[in-house]
Amino acid sequence: MSKAHDVPVPSAAYDAASAAVEAALAAGARYADARLVDRRTESMTARDGDVRTLDQATTAGLGVRALVGSSWGFAALGDPDGDAACRTTGARATAIAQASAAVAGPDVDLLPAQAHVDTWASDCAEDPFAVSLAEKGDLLTGVTATMRAAGVAVAEALYQAWDTRTAFVSSEGARIGQHIRECGAGMHCLTVGEDETQRRSYPAFRGQYGTRGWELVRELDLPAHAERIAAEATALLTAPPCPSGHTTLVLGGEQLSLQIHESVGHAVELDRILGWEAAYAGTSWLDLERLGSLRYGSELMTITIDPTLPGALGSFGYDDEGTPAQRRYAVRDGIWVGVLGGRDSAAVAGLTDTGSVRADGYARMPMVRMTNVGFEPGPHSLEEIVAATDDGVLMEHNRSWSIDDRRLNFQFGCEIGYEIKDGRRGRMLRNPTYTGIGPRFWASLDMLAGGDEWRAWGTPNCGKGQPGQVGHTGHGAAPARFTDVRVGVRG
């Protein structure tokens, strides 16, 4: 399991986390874990040729989770000053759990797990924090100036980088250090017409991200695409609107990645299925009694849960309750076979699907989150898919997304569409949208691309939980074809 041992966290971090766990147990917890997290972030935005913002942040602190009876408590403290502060935070977590018992639920047990002692670090060829700000600024100002010069109303670009070191200690003996580096970048432009705005982005509508270094940003080659997306945004203003009706729909890989995220990834979260997120994120249309038999989509639909994917944004060595990363199936040959779960939710459900519990920094309670949830490469190419389509619409790059609280009824808007007639890509179409019901939509999947058109797309802004948590997820996807889909919904 160990990888690239670079001593991800200092030994003092384990000591601080251990002190918190000991205090939580001494105060009455039957289980406790603690994470001492040191996260450094950097982001820059540029607009119309100028750097607009440069933000750097260090969020360092301690988060402690304590289980008393059937109730959890979680306490967090920024930058604890010594063992005493760690112990106080540990005892506070237990006290909060004890207060929870005033409105207690059924018994909570944790699925038994091996207590790992290990370290893990993500691969990073070029540390994004070591690349000069001047070079990073030149990249963003250059591409926004190019787009602006091409006549768009607004041109923006950004990069973001995260460097997170975590020491995890549990009352069962786990002691895990992780060092994860993530970064990514993107750009977009807006054109404004008489009655509407148009947008084009590259490489995705909020950029592309991974657990990699600055080499990822270099590979994106933003400058090579700035003029093109500016020209497309201008052309969209006068393009014909996407027709309304039912047709064959071809999705680009980036759009398919968000389709997976919204209508598969969230739907297979076990906390949603159990009703733990009912009031906010929602529930799921999936019924655990049909796990292993429910047809989710066509036989071409195989979706994995795989936090071991090198470089993907949802990758890690261990989740935030100490479970090692492992590859599993969520949907196999169209049948629903797996969920995203944690030690408590899996125990309640009578399953063994753990390893998907993550927290947004030290100050948030770990909860069920996506890791990398996506397709593996398919047998076709986009060119083959278009050539095999007599009449349809190709849609690329997400512009809006909306799905109901059971993850069934969705509507997506894309930035750009193209008519497909007689196996050839035709006119550009503006304001393309499509809508559908999850299992019917996935049942209509009949072609999937692969090869170098497959990519693990990163989603750096998956919101869930209260208080709100931002998750980083990955989604393997490539262009795909769906039949008889309703397109062209308008307001």
Partner: protein
Amino acid sequence: MTAEDLTAQLLEQVRRQAGPGAEAVVRVEDADLALTRFAGSAIHQNTAESRRTLHLQLTVDGGRTAAASTTRARDAAGLVEATLAAARLRPRDPAWPGAAGAAPLVVASVADPATAGADPALRARLVGDFVAAAGGLATAGYVQTSSVDAVLATTAGQHVHGSATTAACDGIARLPGADGVARQVAAAVGELDCAALGARAAAKARAGTDPSPVDPGRWPVVLEPTAVADVVAGLLTGQFHARAALDGTGGLRHGEQQFDPAVSLADPAGLGLPFDPEGTPRRPVELVRAGVPVGLTSDRRTAAATGGTSTGHGGPASATWGPVATDAALAPGPGGSVDDLVAGLERGLLVTDVWYTRVLDQKRSVWTGLTRNGVWLVEDGRVVRPVSTLRFTQSYLEALAPGAVTVGSQVQALPRTLTPTAWGTHRVAVPALALASWNITGNAAG
């Protein structure tokens, strides 16, 4: 070390390391956020966080700016050193508006000691009130208390201190196929009536069982305050700020009768800190007066670009998302209660809540989303049956057009995140609305 002492130390470090020509905004925030979450009528997640954060925005050479923050409160010198290094390396920003100078606060801090000191036992009791009032229905939701105390100073002479608290309860009651919702936000936890919220949510759920679909099309609707909050939030985030006006992405027609005369909207600046992270005192802003757009929220950059003065709506995301209002109030009208508005509907829909709304076209403010927590068919002024989940695709600007709106009389203060915030919640205080046309574009069957 007190926040005042730490602020002074940061300013001194700026002068020492960056020299007298540097401009800086320093802010020290002490925040507590606690949230008790329940599902299946039991508390399942219960969290509390305390943190001190040092924020620094530093500008050298009249336009090379970097911003940084840290929870390592003992490292003020390191924060300044790193921020200065970053500022010196970035390109100069020709539109840098300068740091805020001395200006007195316009609104007072609204901070409740009982809320700041609320413990998990109090929050558990409030959860218990909601659960008990639901009369045996399964419940889910949260009770939150938060407090923030901040000191801000600039090298240009601004020096302010403020405090704020918020308390919120948001929950649903559940029956098979039907959820009911109720929510409330206040500055003081003592103002929360969680029992009333639980009872209201349960009544809604009981009235919503066995829903069936209706046909898509344009429907007259009554939106309850929980749904109206989304319309107002959508307009605030996409329309009523100076960034949208400058970029031309907004669709407001200032000075014209764009909305029904019954519509008046403002940011009263009544909840939250009394100054923004740039140091500008937040001030009340009138946005729509009797259906006529009359104002926009702004930060220092957009105010400078438009030749005005900042309204105190700067923030971490204002450079990209725009300087969005953080406290919204839609004025009540003569329409009476929700029942009164329903009584005026010949045939239409009563919508409690909406969900996952996303903008399709910013300029026309076209949004798509779904109903949630209850929809009912109304005929001859009476609710006749529950309706299953509906998708809509609707221009929020056009929904409020002249002649299309009746505004209810009873305002609810609802929790809402209007722009990214590290603590607490914002407030949207709105009445119910009866609207002449709402574009239903699908239902649970597609």
